[in-house]
Structures are given as structure tokens and as C-alpha cells.
């Protein structure tokens, strides 16, 4: 028979002090997490409320379908498409450069390079991450575009190709580092299995390690797209700040970020519709990166590594 209300010995009784400290720590941790959430909501809130006046003056239909963006002109027109096309084209060029280079670098570092080589190359790549983007911008304008003009003389000084390529170079270390981490996390037993079947190093890397690391590699690409879409300085400096509805890389163009920064730096008077337009553009940017995040989450779920 179990006794009712058994007496709990002192040694087993709840330690009030320890419980209290635990509780305090928990609250502190929760508060710091909450700050991040609050800031995010604050940003969304400001974006929405600030762009409301804009959407009172400009219809959503015009904003989404018009192919002309001329806030500075006599006849103002607010169609976001030229900024979106500029953003997508430059990001696309950057990816064409960065995805192969970044992936190959990652495969080399993770599967081929000796310990010594890896420890030499990685810091150099990290150095590239540390270069201020304004330097990349002038690099595009003053070095890459002139070189491209030698090959293709009709290329204007401000174009999407040069900054796109430079942005690609800038993104390589991001892809390389995230993808390399993903591949290195593939357990050795998986590689040994492939080698034991008589696979070469390259076959092992491509047919076993990469598929096993799919979710991490895709995450690297998604990070790269976000980085490209959000990049401001390179484009603002070298692409011309000319809203232009085109996907042609040899034309000049502006991106969403380049437009926002030009307005924020004072091209337009505060308070007017033109000024409010940067919040509308900001929402578009926010939605683009948010969908990328969601896509990232989804691929992560879909391709979770099950070694």
C-alpha cells in the first residue's frame, strides 16, 4: 500500500534558489529572442503604414503592371517592373558566375584539398567577404566594364553585365562556405561506402557527397540569391540608376535597392508621393526575400539529410 502524502525528504525537495535562477535565465533568453521578433514586426509595420499614402495616390494595378518608373519626371509614373527586371537580371548574371564557381570551390575544398591547402584558401575567401561592397562597385565601373568594352565596344559605361559579374565574384565565398560546410557534414562512412565500391574521388564527390548534402547546397544558393537581390552599392555605382524595363544585360538599369538608396540620399523631397514610393519598393523587396526564406525552409524540409 502506498502511503498518502508521503513526506519528501529534504534532500529531494525542490531547490527554490536553483529554480528561481533557472527561471530568470529563461526569461532573459526569451526577452532577447522577443527583441528580434519585435524589430521584424516593427519593420513590416512601418513599411506598410508608410506606403499606404503611396497606394492611395497610385493604384496597385499601375504599380504592378506599368513598365515605366519615373518619379523624377514631370509626368510621374510608378510601375515597379523596371526595378524588378533590373534586380532580377543583375542577380541572374551574378548567379551564373557564382553558382558554378562557388560549387566547384566547395567541392574542391571539401573533397580534394589537403588540410594545408584548405587552411590557406579559406581565410583568403573570408577576406573577400570582408571587402566593402563600395569597393566592388568601383571595381565594376572602373575595371570590369572597361575590359568588357574592349570585347564589346557598344557596351555603355553603365550596364548590368559588369556589376552582375562583380556581384557574382562577391557571392562566390558565401556559396563556397555554406556548401562546403554542408558537404563536410556528410559522414565519412558514406564516402567510404562509395570508395569501397571502387568509385574515384570525383565520382564519390559528385554522385554521393553532393546528393547527400543537397539541402545545404540549395540553402547556399538561396542565400546567394538573397544576397544578390539585397545588394545595393555595386549596382548603384555601376549599373546607371536608370529604371529601364529590360532583361538585356548590356543596357543600363536600376534595381529596387539602388532606387531606394538614391531617394534616401535626397533626390526627392521628403513627404511626397515620390518619397513614399521607397516604402512601396521596400515592400516588394521584403516580399521577394521573404519568399526566398520560405523556399529555403521548404527545401530544408524536403531534403533533410538522413544519413
Amino acid at each position: 500500500m502506498a502511503k498518502k502524502n508521503p513526506k519528501i525528504s529534504r534532500a529531494l525537495a525542490k531547490n527554490i534558489r536553483r529554480n528561481f535562477v533557472e527561471r530568470l535565465i529563461e526569461i532573459a533568453l526569451m526577452l532577447s529572442g522577443l527583441i528580434a521578433v519585435l524589430i521584424t514586426f516593427g519593420i513590416v509595420f512601418i513599411l506598410v503604414t508608410e506606403s499606404l499614402p503611396f497606394f492611395e495616390a497610385v493604384s496597385l494595378k499601375e504599380f504592378l503592371t506599368s513598365t515605366v518608373w519615373t518619379p523624377n519626371f514631370e509626368k510621374k509614373n510608378y510601375g515597379i517592373l523596371p526595378l524588378v527586371s533590373g534586380t532580377l537580371t543583375i542577380t541572374g548574371i551574378a548567379l551564373i558566375v557564382a553558382v558554378p564557381l562557388g560549387t566547384i570551390t566547395a567541392v574542391y575544398l571539401s573533397e580534394f584539398a589537403s588540410h594545408k591547402i584548405r587552411e590557406t584558401i579559406k581565410p583568403v575567401l573570408e577576406l573577400l567577404v570582408g571587402v566593402p561592397t563600395v569597393v566592388f562597385g568601383y571595381f565594376a565601373l572602373l575595371l570590369v566594364t572597361p575590359i568588357l568594352q574592349k570585347i564589346y565596344p557598344d557596351l555603355p559605361t553603365f550596364n548590368m553585365l559588369g556589376p552582375g559579374i562583380v556581384m557574382g565574384v562577391m557571392i562566390v565565398p558565401y556559396i563556397a562556405s555554406v556548401a562546403e560546410d554542408a558537404m563536410r557534414a556528410v559522414p565519412m562512412s558514406m564516402r567510404e561506402g562509395a570508395y569501397a565500391m571502387g568509385a574515384t574521388r570525383f565520382q564519390t564527390a559528385v554522385s554521393v557527397v553532393m546528393p547527400a548534402a543537397t539541402s545545404g547546397i540549395v540553402a547556399a544558393y538561396i542565400l546567394a540569391v538573397s544576397r544578390g537581390i539585397g545588394e545595393t552599392m555595386i549596382v548603384a555605382i555601376a549599373a546607371g540608376q536608370q529604371p529601364n524595363f529590360t532583361f538585356n544585360p548590356v543596357e543600363s538599369a536600376a534595381t529596387i535597392t539602388a532606387y531606394i538608396v538614391s531617394v534616401a540620399l535626397g533626390d526627392l523631397e521628403h513627404g511626397g508621393i515620390g518619397y513614399q514610393s521607397i516604402f512601396a519598393a521596400g515592400i516588394v523587396l521584403f516580399i521577394m526575400t521573404l519568399s526566398l526564406n520560405i523556399l529555403g525552409q521548404w527545401t530544408r524540409k524536403k531534403f533533410t539529410e538522413r544519413y
Binding site: 589537403s114 588540410h115 559522414p187 562512412s189 558514406m190 564516402r191 567510404e192 561506402g193 562509395a194 570508395y195 569501397a196 565500391m197 571502387g198 568509385a199 574515384t200 565520382q203 554522385s207 554521393v208 546528393p211 547527400a212 543537397t214 539529410e305 538522413r306 544519413y307
Partner: protein, 282 residues
Amino acid sequence: MALLLNFVIVFVKKLNGNPRNKIIMARKEILKAESKNFNFHYADGTHALKDINIPLYEKKITALIGPSGCGKSTFLRSFNRMHDLYAGNKYDGEIILHPDDTNILDKKVDPIEVRMRISMVFQKPNPFPKSIYENVAYGLRVRGEHNKRLLDDKVEEALKGASLWNEVKDRLQDLAYNLSGGQQQRLCIARALATDPEIMLFDEPTSALDPIATVNIEELMSELKKKLTILIVTHNMQQAARISDYTAYMYLGEMIEFDETDIIFTKPSKKATEDYITGKFG
């Protein structure tokens, strides 16, 4: 053939002091491979194997037993040059593969060629992140085989050989991870079988499996030895006694005793072996 005969004579001469070895020879076992004065050092200097001499007889199962850390895995993995994957490992001595009479440790021997003839099944099932079909076809694909008919046939044959065919024939395109642990291990055996190896290495193949899956794999091995030579590491004394024909007892990097399994388990000649088998130690 002449070389083989020559070797048998040398072997007899070498061991003629021990009457038991004469019994072995009397049964006319064919030597498939053997290690000769094999020494192994890991990169950190660990002398993991000391002068190991162990023969593998054709179409027989040889078991390696001994306490944890005695070097069983190290020895097994030497047979398909797994150690070459890690820088700094050093080995000397020979592992001769017959009937070629080739020292597979020779620097001039291509490890990939060795692995094509000597395949391996690991302790933990390690299927690739691919379909069941592609897992089994992998070894043929890396050899450049593209013929769909041939691949289909080989995959079916290997899956049958690993007694997995009936369970998976309707879902060959499923991801291999959807199989149970025991099925995954049989898939790994099928994968290794698909390339028609001469020797199969098993490193504690059932230690991650439940008793029923274990029995399946043990029966499978007895079936496989009709076709090929098997070297298995096991911690399970009953398993070694049940399935193997020869047993080597290892301790601290040395081979203490090698003999027919029946003899090792009934009247071993070394006290150390007896102590280990009877559980007095280890």
C-alpha cells in the same frame, strides 16, 4: 596454377610442425588471400597490427575475434586499401591475392582495382542517398556500365543474392532510406554483390541489427560462401562459431591463434584464446 602449388608447398613447409595444420591441408583448401608479416601504423603512431599472418581460404568464412581495439577492423580494412583514404597511415608486409599472386598493398597496384574485386560491408548500414535500384547499380555505374538491360539483370540478381528482392521488387525507385535497418544492410550487401567480388569483407555487419535481421544476414552469408570468400569481424562469439570455418583470435594488435573454428572453440591451443572464448576475459 604452378605458382599456387608452389605456394602450398611453402605453406606446408612453414607449418609442418603443427599437426593440426596438416589436417587443414589434407582437406585441400585453396588459398584465396593471405597476409604476410603485415604491420600497420596509424598516422598518430599507434602500432595497430604487428606481424599478422592470416590466410583466407577460398569459399570459406574466416572470422576475426578479439577484444575491442585489438585491430580487427584495421586488419579487415587493409584488404581493400581503405586506409589509403587517410593521410599518414603506414603499413608494410604483404597481402597476397590469389590466384594472381599479387601483393595488393604494392604501391603499383591501383586501389580502385583492388576494391573492384574485394568489396566491403560496413558495421552501420550506409546506403547512398539514392533509390534502391541506383544503390545496387552504383558499383556498375562507376565502372562505366550504361546498358539498361544488363543493369536491370544485375540489380535483380544482386537483390536476389541478398534475399531482398521479394521485399523491394515493387519499389525499386524508392529512396533507400525508407527501408528498415536490416533491409538497408541487405541492400548494402546487394550493392557489394552486384559487381561480382571475389572476396567480401564484413565489419560487424549485424551489430546494429535486431536478432531476426541478424539471423537473416547470417543465413545469407552461409549462402554467399558458395560463391565467394568471406572475412568477417564479429564481437558475437556464437556468431563466429555458427557461421565461420576458420577463426583468428587477435589481441593488442597481434594474431594470437588461427585455426579451424571448431578447434578454436573446443580445444584452442593457447590459454589466452581459451580465456577469451570462455568469457574469463574480454
